[in-house]
Subunit: 275 residues, 2 copies
Amino acid sequence: MNSELTSIQMFGIKTPIIRAGDDVVQILETALEEACVEPFEGDIFVLAESAVATSENRVVELERITPGERALALGEEYELDPREMELVIRECDEIFGGVPGAALTITKGILAPNAGIDASNAPEGHVVLLPEDPRKSAENIRKRLEERYSCRLGVIVGDSRTQPLRLGCTGLALGVSGFVSVEDARGAFDIFGKPLHITHKAVADNLVSAAELLMGEGGERVPCVLIRGAPVKLIDESPEMPKISMEGCMYFGNVIKARGRKEENLKQGQNPASK
Amino acid sequence: MNSELTSIQMFGIKTPIIRAGDDVVQILETALEEACVEPFEGDIFVLAESAVATSENRVVELERITPGERALALGEEYELDPREMELVIRECDEIFGGVPGAALTITKGILAPNAGIDASNAPEGHVVLLPEDPRKSAENIRKRLEERYSCRLGVIVGDSRTQPLRLGCTGLALGVSGFVSVEDARGAFDIFGKPLHITHKAVADNLVSAAELLMGEGGERVPCVLIRGAPVKLIDESPEMPKISMEGCMYFGNVIKARGRKEENLKQGQNPASK
């Protein structure tokens, strides 16, 4: 193999079913040993949020939830179990619409259907909430793994999401620790030496998408993928995921503009209800 | 290494600068030989759309473009060079809004800023359009590579895109040949044996995101990544990318509903302009 060649390796780490209260780091250690994979300096662990959340006791029995009035109304609008809708309301920062089966929310600063609450990979009659603080979860797991393996590592708590107008799920980093999650390519140049137009690389999201190739969505029991050789910038921090504003977002800028016009119309007394 | 362990390997394939009219397959063959990488059955080639489009002579000198009235108006609205805006209008199926710097279009059936037209990695004063038919491009390249290496392969023509409310670019498959691009997980079960809620995996998009870890966006000159060991379903076809409707899209369903209400208001004569 050519020495100039860049390459990445990924290993799917199979584990027993992770249950509420389990120690996810201990489970990983055993699974890595069984797979004969010894973590190296710079390796990135991508962990499924459902496994992390379950280990953190974020599993809720729906029968214990009493939906309020808003949950009953919104549950009907979005065709969701009103008890699940109640949890969505409690968990999310904002609901701004949706489609049948999915209320579109901002939860823990990230766009998520149904506040990231999922019945898949939860025991019957239960749902799994997102980890309370995915960034903190990633940090805790990283520190313990780094201590155990005496090297610098990266950890991502990752999730699945759909793309606008596109069928199928891709990866999303909910919380990151140990490396730069979004790299700024400003100041870099293209192959002709011109400054780059596209300026940021969603490194952490791409790592999760890569890991999803081995994770699957279902009963594969591969809640962790170890990625080796990815050209990440290691840091001893847990960076916040940088975001763009609704106004600056190609997909939502328009919605905001439309809302603005509506509000302007209202102000000008053009709403029939105000006459 | 444990025999049950699933793993994927990725190799960044460095090439000389690809210029208009170059034979991309010939360039790849030379680059693979230099890197001492021999393609295997089931390997997936992810190719940067800009390299494919350039080889297909889809490079346009802006000076040769005369913007029409609509391009002048929209160029001002979206703060784009009116000549580039003219090309966006010619290339796209539909423009439905945008933000400064990015008109949001549907082009070749896919959501894309500025019809996928990019000045990065184009010679000074030029832009690169998307490949005329990315699926056909992927198919042609696959057939030639399969013949050359006497094995079944997959090819993706991939692009970068931003995510809603999220900073940084991830991967998107524009055209796919040789494997199932979106896998249907309906009928599969979660770790507790319950039917899965999330039902489709965007395999091709995830492969492009994985490849972007090695490609970079700029002068790295890695327009191709070879992915080995990805659990894809090989087929002797070039599947269309399945899509969801605007009405069924979590992100746009709302916009459509708002439009619907607006239209209803108009019908009911509640628009002041109609009075």
